[in-house]
Amino acid sequence: MPELRMRDALREALREELIRDERVFLMGEDIGAYGGSYAVTHGLLDEFGEARVMDTPISESGIVGAGVGAALAGLRPMVEIMTINFSLVAIDQIINNASKIHYMSGGQFNVPLVIRMASGGGSQLGATHSHSLEGMYAHFPGLRVVCPAFPADAKALLKRAFRDENPVIFIEHTALYSSRGEVPEDTDLILEFGVANTIREGCDVTIVGYSGSVHQALRAAVLLDKQEGISAEIIDLRTLRPLDMDAIVESVKRTNRAVVVEDDWKFGGFGGELSAQIMERAFDWLDAPVARVSGKDVPMPYNRNLEYAALPAEEDVVEAVLAMQ
C-alpha cells in the first residue's frame, strides 16, 4: 500500500470522483490556478479544466449558495471554504438552506453538496483563524459532519461524501494535512458514515476523539501504558453526524471509564454531547464521571505559549485518566 500525506489522499478522492461522476465539479477560492490554500486541489485544474474546477471570487455566501442551487438542480458540487472560520460568512446558506430544504419541501428536494473546510488551531493564526467549529455544525439536523484523522479514512470518507444525498460538512484538521499514512489504491473503497473505528484496544478506560484529538489520545495511551500500566481503548469517531454511539457505549461497558477529547471549546462543545449520551446510555456501567478534555474557553491567543496552553494536549488526557482511577 502506498503511503500518502493527508492532502494527497484527499486529492486522490477528488480526482477519482471527478472521473467517476460527470455531475461532480469543484468550486472555491483559489482552488484552481493557486492549487488550493492547503494544496489539496493542486493540479486538478490542469487535468479537468475550468468548467469542473472553478476558481471563485471571495464570496463565501455566494458560492455556498450557488452550490446549494447546483445541487438542487441535479449536480454534485463540492465547495471548498478556505478555512472553517470563513464558513461563518456562509452560515445562512449552510444552515437555513442546505440543511433544511429537504425537510421544508416535505422530501421533494435534496441538497447533495460537499463543503470542505480546514479547521483547528496551533499555527499562531490568532482568534479569527483558529476555530474548531465541528461541534457547531454537528448541532444541526440535516447535515452530515465528517472529521477524519488518518489519510486512508479521509480518502474513503470523502468519496463517500460525494455519494450522499445530503449536505456534508467535511472537516480537515490543518495540523494533519502533512501527516502520512497507508492508503489503499482501490478506487472503489468507501467508508460508511456513522461507523466509529476502535484504533487501539484497551480495558481500563475508553478515550473518544476525532480528527486531531485522536492523535493526542494515541500519544496519551502510550504514556499511560508505559508509565502507569493503564490500558486505554481509543475510539476514532470519524463522523460526528451520524454518530456511532453504540460503539462508545459498548466500549464503556467494558472499561467503565470514559474520556472525551476535542479541540473545540468545552462550554457547549461536542464533548458535552458525548458525555451526556454516555451518561444516558451507560450510567450503570460507569466507575467515574465522564471526563472531558477540550480547548480552553478563550478566543485563540496569538502568543505561542498562550496558544499551547489554550489547546488540549496529551498530558491533559493522561491527567484526566489518572484522576478517575
Binding site: C203, K226, E228, N256, D284, D287, M324, Q325
Partner: protein, 429 residues
C-alpha cells in the same frame, strides 16, 4: 342563523386580545371587509374586519374586556333575528397532539383546570445512607453489581477518588471476605476472570501494589522473559575525569555544574553516536535505529522508580546535559515530567554510586536494547607501568539485548565509553 364573530388570531404569538372599541354597534349593517372593532394585542392595536355581511345582533365582549383567541365576541345575522340567548362560549380545545405543550391550547386547559395530572412514580431510594446520614460514594457500575449480587456496600471501603467505591472493590468483596482489606491490581479484569487473591495469614500482611509498582513489575518481567541479556563488566579509571570535572565546574555557571553521572551520560552519548545498535529497538524481523539519542536516567522515588529521558543528548554539551538532568530530577519528584521525557528514551543509565554500591547489573527497560549500570567511584590500588598506584576506579556493567548485538560489539561499545572518560578533554563539547 347568526354568525359568530370570534376574537381573532392576529399573530403567531397571540393568545388573547382586548376589545378596545366597537366600530359597529348593535343594529348596524355590516358589509364584508368592513371594520367592526379595534383589538389590542400585547404587541399592537389592529382592526378586525367582518368576513360575512349582516346586522350586528349582539356584543358579547364589552369594550375593555380581554378574552382568549377563538372566543365569540359578537353575533352577526339577519336584522329580523333575535339575538339568541347564549353566553360567551369557549371553543373546544383544538385537538392538539400534545395538550400539555405551551401555547393557546395549554392556556385553555389551565383555565378549565384540565391540566393533565401525570402520575409520578414514588421515589425509590437510590443510594444507601450510612447511619449518620452521609451518602455513600459509590460508582454507578459498582452499585449495580452490588445490587445484583447482594453485596452490602456499607461494609466496603472505596479505593477510588475521594474514597469512591468502584467496581473493583465490589468484585473483591465478591471474591471472598479475606480480600476485603486489600485492593487488586487487576482493575481491568473481566467479570469471568476474578482476580486470585493470596490467603492472608496472621503472620503476614497483604500490601497492595501502587500503580507504579505494578508497571515496574510488568515491564521488568517482560524484559527478563523476552529480552535475552548478556553482560559485560569493566573498570574505568576516573582520576582524569574527576580532575576535569573540578576544572569544568569552577568555570561553569550554577546550573551547568556537572555530576559524575553527567560525565557518564556525555560519554555514552558519544559512544552511542558511533554505535547505533545500542540506541535501538528490536522488532520481530528488523531493528529500529533511533536517530535521536535520548538517554534515560533512573530516578528513585518514594514509591518506586522512573526513568525519564534527557532528550537529544547527541547535540547537547556537557553543561547542557548537566542542566537537563537537574531539571529532570526536579520535575520527576514534582510529578511534572513532559510527555516526551516519559516515553521517548532510547538508552538508559542506572547509577547507584551514591549508595556505595560497587557494581550494578541492570535489567533492560523495554523496548530499549541496552542499559549501563554504574557503581560508585572507589580508591583502588592499580598497577600502572609496573608500579602500584592509587587511582579512582568506577565499575560499569553493560546489559545488552542479544537479539540486537553480540558480545564483541558490546565490548567495543563499552570500551569506547571507558576511553572517553579516561581521556576527558573531549567531554566538554
Amino acid at each position: 342563523m347568526a354568525t359568530e364573530v370570534t376574537m381573532p388570531q392576529m399573530g403567531a404569538d397571540m393568545t388573547e386580545g382586548t376589545v378596545v372599541r366597537w366600530l359597529k354597534q348593535v343594529g348596524d349593517t355590516v358589509t364584508r371587509g368592513e371594520l367592526i372593532a379595534e383589538i389590542e394585542t400585547d404587541k399592537a392595536t389592529v382592526e378586525l374586519e367582518a368576513f360575512e355581511e349582516g346586522t350586528l345582533l349582539k356584543h358579547l365582549a364589552p369594550e375593555g374586556e380581554t378574552v382568549p383567541v377563538g372566543e365569540v365576541i359578537a353575533l352577526l345575522g339577519e336584522e329580523s333575528e333575535m339575538a339568541p340567548d347564549i353566553e360567551r362560549t369557549v371553543p373546544a380545545p383544538v385537538p392538539a397532539h400534545r395538550p400539555s405543550s405551551p401555547g393557546t391550547s395549554a392556556a385553555v386547559h389551565e383555565a378549565e383546570g384540565h391540566a393533565p395530572a401525570r402520575a409520578l412514580p414514588s421515589p425509590v431510594p437510590r443510594s444507601v445512607p450510612t447511619p449518620d446520614g452521609d451518602r455513600i460514594r459509590i460508582s454507578p457500575v459498582a452499585r449495580r453489581i452490588a445490587l445484583e449480587s447482594g453485596v452490602d456496600v456499607r461494609s466496603l471501603s472505596g479505593t477510588g477518588p475521594d474514597g469512591r467505591i468502584l467496581r473493583r472493590d465490589v468484585e473483591q468483596a465478591l471474591a471472598g471476605p479475606a480480600a476485603d482489606s486489600s485492593t487488586s491490581g487487576s482493575r481491568g479484569a473481566s467479570e469471568d476472570e476474578p482476580p486470585s487473591e493470596p490467603e492472608a495469614s496472621p503472620d503476614s500482611e497483604v500490601v497492595a501494589l501502587t500503580r507504579m509498582r505494578q508497571a515496574i513489575a510488568r515491564r521488568m518481567a517482560q524484559s527478563k522473559q523476552q529480552q535475552p541479556h548478556y553482560y559485560l563488566t569493566l573498570d574505568i579509571d576516573m582520576t582524569a575525569a574527576l580532575a576535569f570535572r573540578e576544572q569544568f565546574n569552577s568555570a561553569a555557571s550554577d546550573g551547568q555544574r556537572a555530576s559524575i553521572n553527567d560525565l557518564v551520560i556525555k560519554a555514552c552519548a558519544v559512544a552511542l553516536s558511533r554505535h547505533g545498535k545500542f540506541n535501538a529497538e528490536f522488532r520481530e524481523t528488523e531493528v529500529l535505529l533511533h536517530r535521536a539519542i535520548n538517554i534515560a536516567i533512573g530516578i528513585a522515588l518514594e514509591d518506586g522508580l522512573i526513568a525519564p529521558a534527557i532528550i537529544d543528548c547527541g547535540s547537547k554539551t556537557l553543561g547542557q546535559i548537566a542542566e537537563s538532568s537537574k531539571g529532570l530530577v526536579e520535575r520527576a519528584k514534582d510529578g511534572k515530567l513532559r510527555a516526551e521525557e516519559y516515553g521517548g528514551a532510547t538508552f538508559t543509565i542506572t547509577n547507584l554510586g551514591a549508595y556505595s554500591v560497587e557494581a550494578l547489573i541492570g535489567i533492560i527497560n523495554p523496548p530499549q536494547a541496552a542499559i549501563l549500570g554504574v557503581g560508585t567511584v572507589l580508591d583502588k590500588a592499580v598497577v600502572r607501568d609496573g608500579s602500584i598506584v592509587a587511582r579512582k576506579v568506577m565499575k560499569v556493567v553493560l546489559s545488552a539485548d542479544h537479539r540486537v548485538t553480540d558480545g564483541a560489539e558490546g565490548a567495543v561499545f563499552i570500551s569506547e565509553i571507558r576511553s572517553t572518560l579516561e581521556n576527558p578533554a573531549g567531554l566538554a563539547f
